[in-house]
């Protein structure tokens, strides 16, 4: 037994070593940095220990703006993208003709280059001296606009960011949900039909519970992914996100480290730990809620 235990640890050693060096150690280090006041990277020295970093970050208007932006982004995009993906997947699995074609179309954004996607969104939303963009063209048909989506009012920019985020995460969710729907045994549907079940009830009482583990997985990873949003905002509004008022928490961390106003690893660490706490809390709430509503077979 003792011998076996040693052997097991030996087998685990490479993984533990790499995870320890590249994951656990930095995590602990970030945690320590977040309490070291005025840490200087070059001299590896600090002035004292305390909660000042947290105090500073929590009172920084840029950080508060970033938290607000991130929460709005999460609360809008996660339910919407999951819901839309579910609708599209249900649609895909109930059509017979052209299913493969539609599946390919819906999956295309997943394999498309980010720069190409950015270009598409420019054409859609960017105002230039020559054109107001496709979105404004459509708005003008209804007698509205033009709205400057990229450089204009806050809600216009937030709309574009949410739209972009949903559009980016949709293909993966559709892919996962389509396969989850396909794995539901046809016999359950047959049984429900013979029992005279209306279609909506089949969906809510049978389909949804049976794919609930997958749905839950998508919601959890969706929350985590959205909380870590950064590159999408950069793709739309450029690197100076604070100026655009569209910064996210991860963006704030990055700016504190490397941005033009950067060089404050202590503040960055504190912000990162706050983000970590938020994500952890939300995930725990998710897990608690799921216990009631998710059915594992």
């Amino acid at each position: 037994m003792e011998q076996q235990g040693k052997k097991a640890w030996l087998y685990l050693l490479p993984a533990i070593l790499f995870l320890g060096v590249f994951l656990v150690y930095p995590l602990i280090d970030v945690f320590i940095y977040s309490f070291e006041e005025g840490f200087n990277f070059a001299s590896q020295s600090y002035l004292g220990l305390g909660l000042y970093n947290y105090e500073y970050v929590l009172h920084d208007p840029y950080f508060l703006q970033a938290v607000k932006n991130t929460f709005i982004l999460v609360l809008i995009t996660v339910p919407l993208s999951t819901g839309i993906a579910l609708l599209i997947s249900v649609g895909l699995s109930s059509i017979e003709k052209l299913r493969e074609l539609y599946q390919t179309i819906y999956f295309l954004p997943y394999v498309t280059n980010t720069l190409a996607v950015g270009l598409v969104f420019m054409i859609l939303f960017k105002q230039t001296p020559y054109t107001d963009g496709l979105a404004n063209l459509i708005l003008s048909w209804f007698g509205a606009g033009p709205v400057d989506f990229i450089g204009g009012p806050y809600w216009a920019k937030m709309f574009v960011l949410c739209f972009y985020t949903i559009w980016i995460v949709l293909p993966f969710k559709i892919l996962i949900l389509t396969s989850a729907l396909a794995s539901v045994d046809q016999q359950y549907y047959n049984a429900a039909r013979v029992d005279g079940t209306p279609r909506l009830r089949i969906f809510t009482r049978i389909t949804l519970p049976l794919i609930s583990p997958t749905l839950f997985y998508l919601i959890i990873t969706g929350f985590i992914g959205a909380f870590k949003a950064y590159s999408d905002a950069v793709a739309l509004f450029g690197t100076d996100l604070n100026a655009a008022g569209m910064n996210t928490i991860v963006g704030y961390v990055y700016d504190m480290l490397y941005g033009s106003s950067g060089g404050y690893p202590s503040f960055a660490s504190a912000a990162a730990i706050i983000l970590f706490t938020i994500v952890l809390t939300i995930t725990c709430i998710n897990l608690l809620v799921s216990r009631k509503h998710v059915h594992y077979s």
Binding site: D185, Q187, Y188, N190, A191, A192, R193, V194, D195, G196, T197, P198, R201, R205, I206, P209, L210, S212, H295, S297
Partner: protein, 368 residues
């Protein structure tokens, strides 16, 4: 309620575009299922019996023909509105619902004037649970039940809405041998108690014979014979039916009728009245053999299996299609294994003659 199938046909279009041969799963079915009876739909796998069942419950639409429930034409009525109960082969219990919720599920679908109060639903669910004796399992999930218990739940769920017609798809195939015997009696009892017209599908002839009021034998989508089990066993219309029913299976010999004698090999075994001449297939039930030292049929003896109540004599004959001839003899008789051969006389009413090509039954009379 009686059920009438009127020229019912189901054709599945071919998947293979090159050969393009459509599959006729059910071919021109015409028969009537009498009210309140237990009907066994019997045939080898792939003979279209499950398709027939799906046509009855409405999950499939017939290519041609009509289905009548009583006098009502239900051919174009979707499964949701037919009011049939169905027990699926793997039971299809909803895994995320408890037994109680599973049984309540069909009742909760009722709408309009059929809508039931909570108490009435609960009462009916308990009644159905009592009928199949699962009251103590009501709060379990399906994966916490044994195969036999799951089946009972499936039957309760099918019966709870008092269906006009109960359909069972291979109800015993997922159970072990012992449970199978018990469950088939149970199905018989439940059917008797509820008097609901019931159709069940099986490939096991023993199962069908033992509990059905009527059996329907199918092959390749074509109805072969319909009748009471004993009737079909005693009077098979063709070689397929004769071979399909009975364990051990019927023994089939390549034989001839010559000068008024049924001849197997060179041995004249049975004197027939005039009218038949030429090659025939002679099929003899295992219980149709009599041990007789002067009997006309000589077979090479290979083994004797003593089963207590009776003896199975295993022998072979060059003109027999079966690898071994199994004959069942009363255990009062003794067989000498060392002699290497055995002589049989035949019970003429256990002997059937069939046309060697078409397999159709050739009626005959024995000369007194």
């Amino acid at each position: 309620m009686k059920v009438t199938l009127d020229h019912l046909t189901k054709v599945f279009p071919s998947r293979n575009r090159k050969t393009g041969k459509d599959v006729i799963a059910v071919n021109d079915f015409c028969f009537e299922i009498p009210d309140g009876k237990l009907v066994g739909l019997l045939g080898p796998s792939g003979c279209g019996k499950s398709t027939a069942l799906n046509l009855l419950c409405g999950l499939l639409k017939p290519t041609e023909g009509r289905i009548l429930f009583g006098d009502e034409d239900v051919t174009s009525l979707p499964a949701e509105n037919r009011g049939v109960g169905m027990v699926f082969q793997n039971y299809a219990l909803y895994p995320h619902l408890t037994v109680r919720q599973n049984i309540l599920f069909p009742l909760e679908n009722l709408k309009g004037k059929d809508k039931l109060s909570k108490e009435e639903m609960e009462r009916r669910a308990l009644e159905a649970a009592d009928l199949v004796q699962i009251r103590e399992l009501m709060d379990r999930k399906p994966n916490e039940l044994s195969g036999g218990q799951q089946q009972r739940v499936a039957i309760a769920r099918a019966l709870v809405k008092t269906p006009r017609l109960l359909l069972l798809d291979e109800p015993l195939s997922n159970l072990d041998a012992r449970l199978r015997l018990q469950t088939r009696e149970e199905i018989r009892r439940i059917q008797k108690e509820t008097c609901v017209t019931t159709v069940f599908v099986t490939h096991d002839q023993e199962e069908a014979m033992s509990i059905s009021d009527v059996i329907v034998v199918m092959k390749d989508g074509v109805l072969q014979q319909i009748g009471r089990p004993q009737e079909v066993y005693d009077q098979p219309v063709n070689l397929f039916v004769a071979k399909f029913l009975g364990t051990p299976p019927i023994n089939v010999f390549r034989a001839k009728v010559k000068d008024g004698w049924l001849t197997i090999g060179q041995q004249p075994v049975l004197a027939l009245e005039e009218g038949i001449e030429g090659d025939v297939m002679a099929a003899i039930r295992p219980e149709g053999f009599i041990l007789d030292e002067n009997g006309p049929l000589t077979c090479r003896l290979t083994e004797v299996e003593v089963m207590g109540r009776d003896i199975t004599v295993v022998s072979n004959h060059p003109d027999c299609e079966n690898v071994e001839i199994r004959s069942i003899i009363s255990s009062d008789e003794t067989v000498d294994l060392s002699s290497g051969s055995v002589q049989f006389a035949l019970k003429s009413h256990k002997v059937f003659l069939f046309h060697p090509e078409t397999g159709a039954r050739i009626p005959f009379r024995v000369k007194a």
